[in-house]
Amino acid sequence: MTAPDIILVGGGLANGLLARRLRMHRPEVTLLVLEASDRIGGEHTWSFHDTDLLPREREWIEPLVVRHWRGQSVRFPSQSRVLSGGYASITSDRFRQVIAADIGGDNIRLRTPVRALTPTTATLADGTMLTAKAVIDGRGPVATPHMAFGHQVFVGHVFRLSHPHGLDRPVIMDATVPQTDGYRFIYLLPFAPEVLLVEDTGYVASEAREKHDYTYDYVDQQGWEPIDTLRSEVGDLPITLSGDIDAFWKEAAGVPKLGAAGGFFHPTTGYSLPDAVRTADLIAHLPTLDAAAIFAALEAHAKAQWRRQGFYRALNRMLFLAAKPAGRRPIFARFYALPEPLIARFYAGRSTLGDKIRILAGRPPIPVGPALRALAATVHSRSH
């Protein structure tokens, strides 16, 4: 077998979108995807707000979108609100269809875990070493001493109900549920009149996902009767608290990192799709596609983004470090009372200085002392 130009390690969202973009713009570039599990895409639902993507970005992922909704809503004990912003979702089933067709089945190797990576080689479990002009690591979040993370954990089920659920737009947060070990909310995506994703989500400090799955109680309370479970998903999204971005990229030793592996996700919401679209575009438009060029582009992009995202990390520290688990909900409730354009800019990671002041201003939702300490907290690299 001739060596491919690029080896994508991990068949997740970021590598999949990159493959699609390369196929469009650089059809001459040969690809090989190495996926540890038995299929690419895992079991996920990836969503985004209309305002997260530019029209030209939206255009090339359109075939992946299974459902678009006009509007979305949030529910808190103190208020419920319908937001007019559109919302769209991609499922891993659709992702597999579209991306596998893009890449070509022969260029995807399933059940192929990788033992070691360098910028131009991937060593498989059996010792086989594959070479390429560039090897890109898209294997998801990794433990690193250079970053401190909180966790957004979730467990969700796509149910078919005996009767229509009556929802015509997503409920991106129903935070009226009991607040047990962190900020807890239910996330609802109405895919069809009787088909609904119900996801129990929590912003929790520890990696230990709380064992109780609240979705069933919630479904009961709503008077819904599931007669089928089409699929289930679990996840653990990193929520960046602080870190040493220079040390983080130095640790990569020249191996380009994409997706969660490279820290490309919204620091507070954990949404990964807009970043995956932009990094795919970034790489597909590079003049040369070797490891050094890709690494340099990603590193520069990540560092520029890191500087812009300081506010979100500070907010995360307030959420995780300062606020007691039960005190986190009022922070979100207050946020969702703010004007819609501000919320849209927050989703897109483009909050203005005025936005930031408004998010933090007013009666502090948490005591000033712990908040200030949280804002000041950082993680120092141990490798210095």
């Binding site: 599931p226 089928d228 699929r231 289930s232």
Partner: protein, 426 residues
């Protein structure tokens, strides 16, 4: 710890799984049952989370027809219908379980031996699983006739040849299911499997049987754990108040949850009881309507009766030889008249005769005289009761659901999964 249970949608199997799940959840673990939508109606244990799948092929209400088919497995058409139904459900579960099971992320799967999909999907996803034998275990052995066969134990060369021959016929009849298992194991990227026996866990089978009741194996099965009947934690049943005031011997009659519609058998047994001066108590498990029930001529007829309490008051039991009734009878030390109908009942009846704990009659040409003679012997000859009573201590000591839960927990612990054939993955 989170255990996912996969069982066929039959009450007798479900209750065994629920008993194990109850022990686990009482100890703070999570238990989830996945099955067709109608199964949700059967679940009694509140702490067992039920997850419905397959409503496109099994819309709510569909199970009634399937139970009707399973209720006549003793005719050739009925049997093929049952096999077809098993095949359909295995195919559906193999298609639908992976997407659900991935998200549930269990530490272990408890897979009923009568539903291959539990084992196939667990193996496919790399989740350890143990098998649960609600009925007689399917693990094969040259000396032991298949549970569906009425053969007595005969380890002579002639007996072994007979067992082999019968197994070939059995496998031909099961062809529809076996082809599905082969197809699904290939589709799921597993080594080829064909029979239900090929799908048993390499770690352990938890079986409702007790070792002494089984025929001796030519090749001992160390992974087969005979834990005895799997019963709920609160198993206290108050004595049944009988509406008569004499000390005539009581004969309890039950054909289980699937065969309660067989009025002819009930009628013959009730008549035989009258002849020998015994009182008959018939539980038809909802298989008869009020009119048909009144026509049986039993001294007491009802849909359900607390079976273990009833057995303690009975001098003999007439049963289809379903695993649950047989082991309840042995636990109570009551002699058994077996009238096997299908599934593993002929095998259980053969064991009853082999161990001298009872007698067997064919359901075909069931004569009142023969029933009366058999019941007279069971009630009057002390050897049957003595033999039945000799099993009681072993049934009591087998461990039941508590032991079964210990075994589940043991193998849910990653350190205990020394599977010889497990692949090494990073």
């Amino acid at each position: 710890m989170h255990a996912v249970f996969i069982a066929p949608p039959f009450v007798s199997h479900l209750r065994a799984h629920e008993a194990v799940a109850e022990r686990l959840t009482a100890a703070g673990h999570r238990a989830t049952l996945v099955g067709i939508p109608d199964m949700g109606e059967l679940v009694r244990l509140p702490s067992l989370r039920f997850i419905p799948v397959g409503s496109d092929h099994y819309p709510p209400g569909a199970q009634e027809a399937a139970v009707r088919r399973a209720a006549s497995p003793d005719t050739p058409w009925g049997l093929l219908g049952v096999v077809h139904e098993m095949r359909r459900q295995t195919d559906m579960l193999c298609a639908r379980l992976p997407a659900v099971m991935r998200g549930l992320g269990p530490d272990i799967v408890v897979a009923d031996q009568m539903e291959a999909a539990g084992a196939l999907v667990a193996d496919h996803l790399g989740i350890p699983w143990i098998s649960l034998a609600s009925a007689l275990p399917v693990e094969r052995d040259p000396a032991v006739p298949l549970p569906v066969l009425p053969f007595d134990y005969d380890p002579s060369p002639r007996g072994l040849a007979r067992n082999r021959f019968a197994a070939r016929i059995h496998d031909a009849l099961m062809g529809d299911l076996h082809r599905a298992i082969r197809r699904q194991s290939s589709r799921l990227g597993l080594r080829p499997r064909c029979t239900l026996a090929d799908c048993v866990s390499p770690l352990a089978t938890v079986s409702q049987t007790v070792a002494a009741f089984e025929f001796p194996r030519a090749r001992p099965e160390r992974r087969l754990r005979h834990v005895g009947p799997l019963r709920p934690m609160d198993d206290s049943e108050p004595p049944v108040r009988l509406p008569w005031d004499d000390d005539s011997p009581v004969v309890f009659v039950s054909l289980g949850t699937l065969q309660g519609h067989r009025a002819g058998i009930f009628r013959a047994v009730a008549e035989a009881c009258r002849r020998i001066g015994a009182r008959s108590v018939v539980a038809h498990c909802g298989g008869l309507d009020a009119l048909a029930a009144a026509d049986i001529g039993a001294d007491l007829i009802t849909d359900f009766v607390p079976q273990r309490a009833m057995l303690r008051q009975a001098s003999a039991v007439v049963t289809h030889a379903g695993t649950n009734t047989v082991f309840d009878a042995l636990a109570a030390g009551v002699p058994v008249l077996a009238i096997p109908i299908a599934f593993d009942q002929p095998g259980a009846a053969a064991r009853i005769v082999h161990h001298g704990v009872g007698l067997r009659l064919s359901k075909r040409r069931l004569k009142v005289d023969a029933v009366a003679d058999a019941l007279t012997r069971l009630i009057d000859e002390p050897t049957f009761r003595d033999q039945a009573r000799s099993f009681a201590p072993e049934v009591a000591a087998a461990g039941g659901a508590a032991r079964a839960a210990e075994i589940v927990l043991h193998f849910a612990n990653p350190q205990h999964r020394s599977v010889p054939e497990a692949e090494v993955t990073l």
